[in-house]
Symmetry: D3
Subunit: 212 residues, 6 copies
Amino acid sequence: MVNPNSNDEVTRGIDAALEPLRFAEGPQIACMTLAEGPFGVETQADVEAVTLPLARLMRETNDTDAFVIACYSDPGLHVCREATARPVFGIAECGVLTALSRGERFGVLAIKDRSIPRHLRYLRQMGLMDRLAGERALGLSVAETASGASTLERMTEVGTALRDTDGANTIVMGCAGMAAHRARLEERLGIPVIDPTQSAVAMALGAVALAP
Amino acid sequence: MVNPNSNDEVTRGIDAALEPLRFAEGPQIACMTLAEGPFGVETQADVEAVTLPLARLMRETNDTDAFVIACYSDPGLHVCREATARPVFGIAECGVLTALSRGERFGVLAIKDRSIPRHLRYLRQMGLMDRLAGERALGLSVAETASGASTLERMTEVGTALRDTDGANTIVMGCAGMAAHRARLEERLGIPVIDPTQSAVAMALGAVALAP
Amino acid sequence: MVNPNSNDEVTRGIDAALEPLRFAEGPQIACMTLAEGPFGVETQADVEAVTLPLARLMRETNDTDAFVIACYSDPGLHVCREATARPVFGIAECGVLTALSRGERFGVLAIKDRSIPRHLRYLRQMGLMDRLAGERALGLSVAETASGASTLERMTEVGTALRDTDGANTIVMGCAGMAAHRARLEERLGIPVIDPTQSAVAMALGAVALAP
Amino acid sequence: MVNPNSNDEVTRGIDAALEPLRFAEGPQIACMTLAEGPFGVETQADVEAVTLPLARLMRETNDTDAFVIACYSDPGLHVCREATARPVFGIAECGVLTALSRGERFGVLAIKDRSIPRHLRYLRQMGLMDRLAGERALGLSVAETASGASTLERMTEVGTALRDTDGANTIVMGCAGMAAHRARLEERLGIPVIDPTQSAVAMALGAVALAP
Amino acid sequence: MVNPNSNDEVTRGIDAALEPLRFAEGPQIACMTLAEGPFGVETQADVEAVTLPLARLMRETNDTDAFVIACYSDPGLHVCREATARPVFGIAECGVLTALSRGERFGVLAIKDRSIPRHLRYLRQMGLMDRLAGERALGLSVAETASGASTLERMTEVGTALRDTDGANTIVMGCAGMAAHRARLEERLGIPVIDPTQSAVAMALGAVALAP
Amino acid sequence: MVNPNSNDEVTRGIDAALEPLRFAEGPQIACMTLAEGPFGVETQADVEAVTLPLARLMRETNDTDAFVIACYSDPGLHVCREATARPVFGIAECGVLTALSRGERFGVLAIKDRSIPRHLRYLRQMGLMDRLAGERALGLSVAETASGASTLERMTEVGTALRDTDGANTIVMGCAGMAAHRARLEERLGIPVIDPTQSAVAMALGAVALAP
């Protein structure tokens, strides 16, 4: 799992969130920070800045059976797939696919409003709009989302709107750094809440375990 | 994992195919045959015959954290989800979702022509038609598919048409009983070949491991 | 016409609503109650409980030229079509198709909120989402809907929201038991209101009259 | 029923095809030829030439409960609906809607290749593309289609391609003048063949009978 | 450029709005009023009234390299394309296409509510619904829109709702007579505002300049 | 106009193809080669390599009113739009949009098979799949396409398949370097052939001329 932003704290948070997927004798799950990455991936320029470093990393990494790009914009997914014959997973794609296996329509919790057009564009690209209930933003920074005391309150409020106004039966957290809130948010909303990094690593785990 | 047909040999084949997903200290994966099921699920009547027995089974099973219905028509998926609060996965849904994480467009290898309209109807229901390259049938019985000597030849031939004529970048095997051929077919075609039962169990594994 | 729930009063209501379609020397229209059905079809389990009884009924009925399943979930439609060579109509499908012949976009009046995801799933399956304006629930029981004094008030209120907020140009009543309110609701809303059972029987009438 | 072309022989053919829908004490079904119409509606200019005459006819006709426009391009459908408060049906719309009630995917038998883009454009307008298997042309003139001795042979050939190559489970005859071949073509192909004028009049019959 | 309504003031307004597209030695841009047109095109009957006069005009005009129909319903577009081998552009089509080159999702400013179903039907026909954010009406007459003092206020108000409530990133003015407000509305809203007549003439200019 | 590959000959070819859009007193059209670009943009890595250089170029260029990215993958389109407030056009987007203004369904002439999945993904992203007739590859290199003697033969052959087998009514040339063949190909095929770079510059010309 590669965190394309250079914020090690986010990487450590993800690493902790993946603990339940580490099984004795199962595939090893290693988390790394992309040194070249910006501190946060918030703009399209941030997205573009990491595509080639990610591809290079994957081309040069020979002891890994599958890769996960841990940013909800799936930066560089296609160039990485071109760079290596091994499977590469993006957390946005896997988060949405996993949500589709858990409920009729999904809602997305974005961090900022300005990400929503980018996310919608990407959902259209994936051909996965038909079961979108809606996407709404928290209006917080990535840093606040990870650590802020009132983040869970805000997530509950926005998640409730996704569920009750938009008709979502499941929620995708639209950021790699929200995992710490997943279980409590799910409990409050009463519908499945998907952490996309966990989903992507779980799918990668399956791909690795099942490879010939 | 429940095999809704009553053919124990199919269940044993699935059980063997899931071996790579059994990790020390990981979730246990148990396979059972639905006693009430028909010998094969080939018609819509076969599908309907197993929906309520599956729901009853899930309602009455309290020591299981997630269920997988191992038939490519996902019989009873929604009634089972109503019957239990725990996650229920269908192999057709999970097979297609997994294929979407591995390539641009997917092809489906059906066993018989008459299943194709049913599968297309279900793909429309799931809102997952946009990346379908095509579906083609082997023209074999379920029994022949599982064991026939020439099955791999026929799968290669039809898979090649899906890849080269229809433009599929990944193949979903549209039956629970084809797992034994997966690795060799993937090798021959040079594109990912997805066994949907393996995919569904991998997704269930993630859901169980990540539950609060 | 088969009412898959075992509530004879609903069957009698439908029977009365079909009176205008009985013509001298025209096809006979008979209404029956499915003895094995639940008292109301409200859950997915209720839906599944009637699929095989309906198929058996149709397979064993030889003096009927076409069948109509009078429940807005179209339970068993495809297994019934497999069971008989004669045409089988579902009232949800026919109600929506008829609405499409009467206005630009249609709204659906559901009885309960929990039916809406099931209905949306089915609309997607039929490929008929493109002209859906919206679906809204009355929040009443089937029994209240059929007989309650204030039902028409509530239907008018919800129908008005479908028309004015969602942009519906025609309304489909999403239940077999609402026929008694159709004419008055249409008068109040000023746009076509479709009773799906009447629509399905009218389409069946055409199919029977026009068969070779 | 108004035939927008001025070919009385086509009108008489339609009139005969509607005989089974005339019931004692049922709604009367009258067929008329639009005097202002071209001899055949083959081009977009022919379509436009009849829209206002049709609207005028409907605005000035007070003793009719519903109208059917009997041309597979549904010329003037929306201006006619604006001109009268009574229901107006187009045969293309009703033919496709009826086909959707009879099979999973429909094929369309056009008369000429050049009509196909116009028909596809109209299917998109109606939001009814999702279940289209394909459209293929006979390559005959309207006159040949109605009367030519070898027409049935050609229809069988093209219908077989729609069924076997394109995967159609039902066929819509894309012209008002093909009714005489319907029953025999259905018998040869073994799947429902829909005459759209009959379908539209059947739907109109339902609308009239069920009006308050 | 043909204004299909017979209001010369609208034609003069369009003519002025096209001034920036007149280049020395560039293609000449001439604006004319369709003498046979109604004073405003507000109903479907108005649309139909101008289709054949437009086609005749184009068939009989030999000194023009491309045509633009300046009414947001694109009346007669397809019959005109049949009538001449030279390119014919409709302003609704070109306005939406141009909007798609300027932002993620577009909103449409209609003049009256009753035009919205017609516009949606046409967007579906063009296959261009996927990036529609929404359409909202000013509730003004064509005359008020062109000249009314408070029109810009009302356009700003409705444009703001399209931007903030519906998520539009660009606005298409859904009428040929709004050009005078374009620049100020764009300034107020801070997102591109498209005058469709200007867009269509710009596309026509390209087609003419680039013709062999 | 920026050619993101560093092949000056391609830039000169584009420059010549834009001659007809240069009007006395009209906007100036300047063509430049991106120095940092690869010699050809053929892979996803080539695409990613030019996104940030293009964005930097646009951010630092202050004397330009609009930009065109002249590569049929529209590399960096969204990051460039973020980098400058002035309009940025991609030739793939503009080529398809222009094709939609000229015919019912479009076909795309790709250079190589491996580009087709990338193009389809992008068409889905733009929400512009509904009128795609098909895409077929020439199987030539970019260099051969620009200069090869037999290129026109091959383009005619593939264009004929798009027109006659796939039903395309217009053709988009899926590469910036095919302009020299446009007029002759259009003459041979008898349907509009769109050079996307010309289309994009024409749309940019409109945007510049019409800016406030």
